[in-house]
Point group: C2
Chain length 217, copies 2
Amino acid sequence: MRELFQQELKELQDDLVEIAGLVHQQMADAVTAFNKSDVELAESVIARDDQIDTAVKELDEQAIAILARQSPVADDLRLVVSALRISSSLERMGDMAEHLAQLARYRFPDKVVPKSVRPIFKDMGKLDVEMAAMLVELLKTNDLVLAEKIRDEDDRVDALHLSVFENVLSEGWSAGAETTVDATLASRYLERFADHAVSISKKVTYLATGEWANSGA
Amino acid sequence: MRELFQQELKELQDDLVEIAGLVHQQMADAVTAFNKSDVELAESVIARDDQIDTAVKELDEQAIAILARQSPVADDLRLVVSALRISSSLERMGDMAEHLAQLARYRFPDKVVPKSVRPIFKDMGKLDVEMAAMLVELLKTNDLVLAEKIRDEDDRVDALHLSVFENVLSEGWSAGAETTVDATLASRYLERFADHAVSISKKVTYLATGEWANSGA
């Protein structure tokens, strides 16, 4: 019984790693579609979001089944509850990738943002994809050094997010309202994606240390 | 033991109702601050967000303690797990109210959005506040008619959200980039607030009917 239970917990973790892998791939493709105005890739990201939603729903049902059957306590209980929270953040990260791809698709064959801010968006996208890759590793290994790295990268994303607005609000910004709207939304999606990565890394830290990290933002 | 357990579940529900009440008040004040450019009210909304975060954290700890002590199954288990999910959405709704108040504060003494779109924002804000009030009632009474009404109001919020963009992208839009950014973000916050209300009402429906509603968006 105990052995089966440990096996079930292990499967829950494996499922989280798998979903995080899907999210990583989605954001990598969304960023490429956004940067290169690749409408086919954008459409494939949009089509694949359902896979993440389904996988999250299955994981949640599995977690609830474990709670019902095994009545875990202490560390095991925290693990299952955290899995539910982490899956919810991963689902939102998938949504952010989808939203970014939607912007790329709407503006095709044009690029979403003007040349002057493209390097900033490229850096933000690169950081988001890196953070997602680190998240996969963090969920696999529970190596808390990765949680710290994710927080550091988030600080860089936040700085880039601010610099998007500095550019948009500068006198040199000559783009029309549509481009201003899209740049605002794209920057927000990339920033929220990074926030969710931090939120997950705090939950993994909680699991390892027993202390709830501040879940705000 | 069983009686104590039912009492604990009742307290969990009461706490959700209380937090939803805080969120309702926050959004009502944020919308007023936004519409009237009331910087003091905006600052009080921003200051009070911590109360929601703290209340959510306490509720979550309480829910986890119940899972550990009582090992609930079936409907009781679903109730506790749903409380965790609902609290997380309420926390985000509080964040949206705070973000709206932040926009009002930054732009004070100016209003955030130009005259041409103020009626749209007023309607969106009114709907959001109404939805939050219905959410309080829904959590208190489990009256699923309210869940339906919340979904209907969300459709109206979505339509207004789209009409903000139609205005921003129309030839009549003469506002500068800063205003375009703020209108975009404000509209997004109001729309997300409504999405979370729908997401909670789906969870309440799940509790009553046993069927998971689609948790996407």
